[in-house]
């Protein structure tokens, strides 16, 4: 038991720590590279030197404006949203003890989508900055539902939880479609937002949710040791002195804050929360004190890569990042299925 | 269940085993250099066995020695990684599943009981190999089911849900299913492991009776060496997936075998009731000094 808590046996400490640190550094470097590419690539490729000039220097040309005006906010939002989703996925998987849990599979994204569509229809709001709070509320509602499930979960069959989330998603999507069909304007307005995208958002959308996002991250980091204990099973965790119900509640709140913020800003982006922990676990192990920070890097890495891909794949037009992640995430889920189930 | 002779009492003896070798369909299961794997792990290796037809065979051994795996290999549930399993000379994996099901019935280790299924409905499923795609339920099918219920003493229970029965009754219902299948071979995977003493003996007595009446060949995996010695004509002892010994209990079960296979110091004495070998572990002082010696 102490091995899981400490994470490293006495003899391996130096080499393990070294490995972890170097992995983190590699991850950070990859992220920086990704961010740079995000600034440089797109319908119109901007050479890296111009990017640097635009950011740190004085360039005012068209290219520079594209960088500072469009791509910089987009990249920053991508970093924030990716981080939020990645960590939300890690925490969700920990509190439900289910490798398939994530904001997507638990229906949280769908909840946000529904709330936004209703807002567009009933209250005639029409810009992402205005949707923000509705998205947040919708995500929270669906998350509460999933949270209630998780609380009774204990050892709920992971398949059942995943199916339940999907069924919840189906209800919400059906209602969402119904509302969109009632009114052409709603349809026009909503269908783009529902695809999940980083474009067309300026930083003004991010600031309002930033405090909640940061709070969610802090809670997740603080919970990491307790999440390790939770992985052993409710009974064992309780025996170790971990207040299981309270930890689950706190974890649930963190997921709501993180996923809600992410969806509020970028719309429902699929699978990042599912993929990030699975990417990090083979490299850093299941210790949440490493896993959560790892997802903090892996999430944005995945999201920005998907975004860049979306910009390149049908140049000069763009594919929304939510659609790219859905296409990439579905085979991932299928592969996970082969791994999780004999 | 009174009146059933102990199969291995001293007077019954060797004639039972050798006598049946002369019958026409011998129902003899043999393995040749059988390897059984789960994934990459070799569980049973290079096993050459000949299980006598028309006899009761017990497969014993320590945990994880491959007993249940062997049984699954013998019943076609697990395909051999190497070697073969033959029934009267025919490779069972070349037979169709249905053909084998008409000859061999299986009671699995922890049978999965569908929710609220009645005993009769369960036993009826045993007729599946006999039914063709569009055939309706025939009188012969009903007769087989009734006979199976009668033989296992579960006729009064026929409308009871199986999952509400006691452990012993449930096992009998599952044995009735295998009986309704009307096979000459019966394979049982740890039929007594989760039962209390009374029900363990009930099940074993039933199995012995089924063998005695119709000469059925029985192969069962057992944990308890004493029970195995009492009820089996032939014993197969496995260790680490290999054959440690095979033969009549009286011939092979001795202290040396128990020491080498189970790592327990013991004394083997004749059972006061039946005369079959009974394993009595030595006192713990003796066993621990033997271990450190």
């Amino acid at each position: 038991m102490t091995a899981t808590q400490r994470g490293t046996p006495a003899t391996g400490v130096p080499s393990r720590a070294f490995r972890h640190i170097s992995l983190f550094l590699v991850g950070l470097a990859a992220l920086v590279l990704c961010a740079a590419l995000s600034l440089a690539l797109g319908a119109r490729s901007v050479p890296l030197s111009t990017v640097a000039d635009a950011l740190f220097g004085d360039a005012h040309g068209r290219d520079a404006l594209v960088v500072t005006g469009l791509r910089l906010p987009r990249t920053v939002i991508g970093l924030a949203v990716g981080a939020a989703l990645g960590v939300a996925g890690a925490v969700a998987q920990a509190i439900t003890r289910n490798p398939l849990a994530s904001p997507t599979t638990l229906g949280i994204n769908a909840g946000a989508g529904f709330a936004v569509v209703v807002a567009i229809f009933a209250l005639k709001v029409d810009s992402p900055a205005e949707y923000v709070w509705f998205a947040f509320a919708g995500a929270a509602g669906a998350a509460l539902f999933a949270q209630a499930l998780a609380r009774r979960a204990g050892d709920i069959d992971p398949v059942r939880l995943a199916l339940g989330g999907t069924v919840l998603q189906l209800v919400l999507l059906s209602w969402t479609s119904a509302v969109m069909l009632l009114n052409q304007r709603t349809l026009d307005e909503a269908r783009f937002w529902l695809a999940g995208s980083l474009s067309g958002r300026d930083l003004g959308v991010l600031w309002p949710v930033l405090p909640m996002l940061v709070l969610g991250l802090l809670i997740s980091l603080a919970l990491s040791p307790a999440l390790n204990a939770l992985a052993l099973g409710d009974d064992s965790a309780q025996a170790l002195g971990v207040p299981v119900a309270r930890i689950r509640l706190a974890g649930g709140i963190a997921v709501v804050l993180l996923a809600g913020s992410a969806v509020a800003v970028a719309g429902p982006v699929a699978f990042i929360g599912l993929a990030a922990p699975h990417l990090v676990r083979p490299l850093l192990g299941g210790d949440h004190r490493l896993l959560v920070p790892g997802c903090l890097i892996a999430g944005p890495l995945l999201l920005l890569s998907a975004d860049v891909l979306g910009r390149l794949v049908i140049r000069p037009s763009e594919l929304e990042v939510g659609i790219v992640t859905a296409f990439l995430g579905a085979p991932l889920l299928a592969l996970l299925a082969r791994k999780v189930a004999r | 269940m009174t009146g059933v002779p102990e199969p291995n009492s001293a007077d019954a003896g060797a004639t039972r085993i050798t006598g049946t070798r002369e019958s026409r369909m011998t129902n003899q299961l043999t393995t040749q250099s059988l390897d059984l794997r789960y994934g990459d792990r070799l569980v049973v290796g290079g096993l050459d066995l000949a299980l006598p037809g028309g006899a009761v065979t017990a497969i014993v051994g320590p945990n994880a020695c491959g007993k249940s795996t062997l049984l699954r290999g013998l019943s076609r549930l697990l395909a051999p990684a190497a070697g073969s399993v033959t029934l009267d000379g025919a490779d069972i994996h070349r037979m169709s599943a249905r053909a084998l099901a008409l000859r061999m019935g299986l009671l699995p280790q922890q049978p999965v009981t569908p929710e609220a299924i009645t005993v009769e409905a369960l036993v009826r499923l045993g007729r599946y190999p006999h039914q063709r795609l569009l055939s309706p339920w025939s009188a012969a099918d009903q007769k087989a089911v009734d006979a199976a219920l009668e033989r296992t003493g579960t006729t009064e229970l026929r409308d009871h849900p199986v999952d509400r029965l006691s452990g012993g009754q449930r096992q009998r219902a599952w044995i009735a299913l295998a009986l309704a299948q009307d096979t000459e071979l019966l394979l049982l995977d740890e039929p007594t492991t989760f039962l209390d003493l009374r029900h363990q003996l009930d099940v074993l007595d039933l199995v012995a009776a089924l063998h005695a009446e119709a000469g059925r060949t029985v192969v069962m995996v057992l944990h308890d060496l004493g029970q195995a010695a009492r009820y089996a004509d032939h014993m197969v002892v496995l260790k680490d997936g290999r054959l440690a010994a095979a033969g009549a209990p009286a011939d092979i079960l001795d202290a040396d075998l128990v020491r080498s296979v189970f790592d327990v110091e013991c004394r083997v004495i004749p059972d006061p009731e039946t005369g079959t070998p009974l394993v009595v572990p030595k006192s713990s002082a003796v066993r621990h000094s033997a271990a450190s010696a």
């Binding site: 599979t105 499930l149 069959d157 398949v159 059942r160 995943a162 199916l163 339940g164 999907t166 069924v167 189906l170 209800v171 059906s174 209602w175 119904a178 969109m180 069909l181 009632l182 052409q184 349809l187 026009d188 269908r191 699978f271 594919l319 929304e320 939510g322 659609i323 859905a326 296409f327 579905a330 085979p331 991932l332 889920l333 299928a334 996970l336 299925a337 082969r338 999780v340 189930a341 004999r342 | 699954r72 019943s75 549930l77 169709s96 249905r98 008409l102 061999m104 299986l106 922890q110 049978p111 999965v112 009981t113 569908p114 929710e115 609220a116 009645t118 499923l125 599946y128 795609l133 409308d159």
Partner: protein, 339 residues
């Protein structure tokens, strides 16, 4: 205990009787109500071609095909859900979570995207549903078809196909996006007799096959070991049953679009009212599905204050309480295979 068995059988008979009666009543109601409402006798006579030409037109060309379509699709969905839930031993299994519904949507939307004639849409839905099943089979097969893997792979297939549909909805010009969206939620509006006969005939065939294979479900329920020992090739049987269920759901989708929740909820309703699965379960599920979908369609047409909602939205709404009940119930899954 004999009385329990007798009581169960009686329940089944009562349930079937009530179901058939309800079906007849609802069908009559569907023929009589609408913009031109008419008394029941007139409607029934018009159905067979007697009476006022205008009445006959309305009943025969508009109302009857729509209602029969709902009945046929509902029957297929109920049966599909019944087979899938037993096959997967999971109360949440249904074509909706396995990609079949998503595939049907995709097929329909692809036809719209290609600008092809509207009459080809049902074929597109059918093809899409079958494609989803193929993907599922291909990904989930690894020396056999294990239950958990099938369910999870189904989720993945559903997600991927839904993404593809979403892509098209986003890429389409606004006018097409609306009709594409329509086809992602299920509707029986405007069905013609050709469509109904076509899908209906195939459905009858599929139901017959399902009834023949139904016995295997009972054997599979015993667990892989016992089923294997009884001579059933478990993987082959699973594949066959899966295929039949997919065919049923795809045909239903071809007729009514991807209607959600009927396949999920119907087996639970049947179980709730008549007890654990029996030989009659499949037929009962078909009957219940037909009644449910027809009733939902009537609600959509006549009871809702809003015009033009697809029936899929209603079924989803009706399905939500079931969802809540299912997800909060603490019982373990129907069976678990033991190691």
């Amino acid at each position: 205990m004999k009385s329990a068995v007798v009581a169960a059988r009686r329940r089944i008979l009562v349930f079937s009787g009530v179901g058939l009666l309800a079906l007849f009543v609802l069908l009559t109601v569907s023929l009589t109500t609408g913009e031109m409402s008419m008394p029941a006798t007139t409607a029934l006579r018009a159905l067979v071609g007697l009476g006022d030409a205008g009445d006959v037109l309305v009943v025969q060309q508009f109302r009857a095909p729509r209602s029969v379509a709902a009945i046929v699709a509902g029957a297929g969905l109920g049966a599909a859900g019944c087979v899938l839930q037993r096959l997967f031993r999971n109360p949440l299994a249904s074509p909706d979570v396995m990609g079949v519904t998503g595939g049907a949507s995709l097929g329909a939307v692809a036809v719209i995207a290609a600008g092809a004639s509207q009459t080809l849409i049902p074929l597109g839905a059918l093809g899409g549903g079958l494609l989803a099943a193929l993907l599922l089979g291909a990904f989930a097969w690894r020396s056999g078809l294990a239950v958990t893997r099938m369910v999870l792979t189904g989720l993945a297939v559903q997600a991927g196909l839904a993404a593809a549909v979403n892509l098209m909805i986003v890429r389409f010009p606004a006018e097409l996006a609306g009709s594409a969206l329509q086809w992602t939620t299920g509707s029986v509006y405007g069905r013609t007799w050709t469509q109904v006969w076509g899908a209906g005939g195939a459905m009858v065939l599929a139901l017959a096959v399902a009834l023949v294979l139904h016995r295997r479900l009972a054997v599979l329920d015993l667990g892989d070991d016992s089923a294997g020992a009884l001579g059933l090739n478990t993987s082959a049987a699973r594949l066959q049953l899966l295929f039949v269920a997919v065919a049923l759901a795809s045909l239903a989708a071809a007729l009514a679009g991807p209607v959600t929740f009927v396949a999920l909820a119907v087996p639970h309703i049947v179980r709730f009212l008549t007890g654990p699965p029996t030989a009659a379960s499949l037929a009962l599920a078909s009957l219940t599905g037909a009644v449910l979908l027809l009733a939902s369609d009537l609600v959509v047409q006549h009871l809702l204050p809003v015009e033009g909602l697809p029936v899929g939205a209603v079924t989803a709404t009706l399905g939500a309480p079931w969802l809540l009940v299912l997800m909060f119930r603490q019982s373990s899954p129907v069976q678990r295979s033991h190691a």
